[in-house]
Symmetry: C2
DNA sequence: CTGAAAGCGCTAACAG
DNA sequence: CTGTTAGCGCTTTCAG
């Protein structure tokens, strides 16, 4: 059995109230008393029980990060990055962080679990229904890397439109006109942002978007290789490919290499996310960088503001992105 | 304010004890009563408060996964895989999972936090000191992917020696004799296992290990490229390279490609971990597969056994590994 | 500056 | 099958 505040109280000869104060408001306790208490605590190897404290204070300082994403690796590099930011910042606020997939969360038999978190960060493709469910339970919600209409909560996003614009502009500056895009079938929000931004950017540069230059791929390399191969094999093929993410772009690189094309001379390729795989290929992949870590940190900050009761109406934080140019373009 | 068990008790006209039973031992309550209670709960939007429950029960069902690893991406693909397994299994047992880096954990000002976890999974390069610190607080410990002498706890490992043996055997079967190894500077336990296993395997095949074929690299691509370049540039270079992990092996692939060597004809390359980057290169990387997800799941199972009081003395679980052969060899 | 005492929401005997 | 009641360990008025 772990020692309780009562044990310390007895051993040090002061009341439990004073023990409690010693730990959380040391300045309200005379130095001599405080030292007596601390010594007793040391002897007993006591440290305050957070559960009891949470119970008395009616707060848990516990938040959750829920990844809403179907199958495939849940904690892929992208979410792992966000996750790290969340972990880091949670710690700064002394929050406890629960991480789970949406799927597991729902499957949890003990729905009580939900009741002890005070805020949740929803990553990926969360539905409005889920948001409302939390808000109904007085649990604050922040959404990252996704946006759904009509919800009253803070969003943390990266600048998909500008990132895409930079990618296209870069290719145009390199002299490309026949620019293809391989769009993806992953997060609907992200995919449509990037796709629409691509169309807009092409427009801005006065370039025509031929439908035969627009393809769709599953977010895995095999699918991307297949799609890119078909794209490059047609006559009058594109001279540049913009991939909706790095995995897809790497698939395009592989397809090009297998077709004997030289990169970037015959075909230039640009990806999105600037993940570690950009440096595994030869040549290495130019890609739009997202500051995932910072996104995660900001999520926690927003959540904290919400939990402190600082009213934040629907508020969108958009983080800047930039292009990391490498050998593939 | 959230509704309490008392509110439900009042509205449904039964005692709080019955409400409690309805939620956690429904079979001990008459159907009619149960339905009355559930209806009241629904109306009030009540669900049991886990904190109060934890308090009364004197248990939290809360465990932690602590990643002990310096800088660089904490949640790299390897740990993310283990992490997913842990998440999945935690859920099956209805445990709450706290994930943190060792660094953050220590920095946490509120050491009380520690008191409410009942078990911890230590990943990476944890020190004995840390283990003892937990055990002193009656917190159960399981260690994954690492082993330290003289500790009394379960270990979950993958078969590094056999994995390495398979890699070497594969290269020998492909006719290689001059096999080099680029060892790594990451987890000391893993690195020395793989290194020693390599020496043993070479021995078994009666092959000499020339010291000029043994190199050391930091666990990042740039370093590996550099090291591999030097390795391949010497006269009478190796015809095969075994990388201590995939990142290093990919560096070797890049070095070989840049030197104009053909893979696998001029030089064969094998990695370790079978991570997603194996399929990003051209040719793709042969690698030793580790079932990370399962490692994570087993960790939770071991921890659960420990927490249930089933005495498990120092016990080592070793998971099988296998070679995924791809184009690089 | 310190102590006494009333909870925080729930569970587990024990009685009925 | 259901109700009563005494805690679980801590915090926080309110007095002193």
């Amino acid at each position: 059995m772990n020692p309780t505040i009562r044990d310390v109280s007895k051993l040090s000869g002061v009341s439990t109230a004073t023990v409690s104060r010693t730990f959380f408001y040391p300045e309200r306790v005379k130095k001599a008393t405080r030292e007596k208490v601390l010594e007793a605590a040391r002897v007993l190897n006591y440290s305050p029980n957070a559960i009891a404290r949470a119970m008395a204070l009616q707060r848990t300082d516990k938040i959750a990060f829920l990844i809403c994403k179907a199958h495939s690796s849940i904690l892929d590099e992208f979410y792992a990055g966000i996750c790290e930011g969340i972990m880091k910042e949670s710690n700064a606020y002394d929050y406890q962080l629960l991480i789970s997939t949406e799927e597991d969360w729902i499957a949890a038999t003990n729905s009580a679990k939900r009741k002890q978190i005070e805020g949740v960060i929803l990553g990926g493709n969360a539905k409005a229904e889920r948001v409302l469910e939390f808000q109904n339970q007085n649990i604050h919600v922040v959404m990252v890397n996704n946006r759904i209409a009509g919800m009253n909560l803070p969003y943390v996003l990266s600048d998909e439109r500008d990132g895409t614009r930079q990618a296209v502009q870069h290719l145009v500056e390199r002299g490309h006109q026949k620019i293809a895009m391989i769009a993806g079938r992953f997060s609907p929000y992200i995919c449509s942002e990037r796709y629409n931004a691509f169309l807009d950017a092409m427009n801005e540069h006065g370039l025509k978007v031929e439908s035969r230059y627009i393809r769709m791929s599953d977010p895995n390399i095999e699918s991307a290789v297949e799609v890119a191969t078909a794209l490059l094999r047609q006559k009058d093929p594109p001279t540049a490919i913009f991939g909706a993410n790095d995995v897809i772009a790497v698939g395009a690189i592989k397809a090009a290499l297998r077709l004997g094309l030289r990169i970037p001379r015959d075909v230039a390729i640009v990806g999105y996310d600037d993940s570690s795989i950009c440096c595994t290929t030869e040549p290495e992949l130019t890609s739009v960088h997202i500051d995932r870590m910072r996104m995660g940190q900001i999520c926690v900050q927003k959540l904290q503001a919400l939990m402190r009761g600082e009213e934040i109406p629907e508020q969108v934080t958009v983080l800047p992105t930039w292009l990391n140019v490498r050998g593939s373009s």
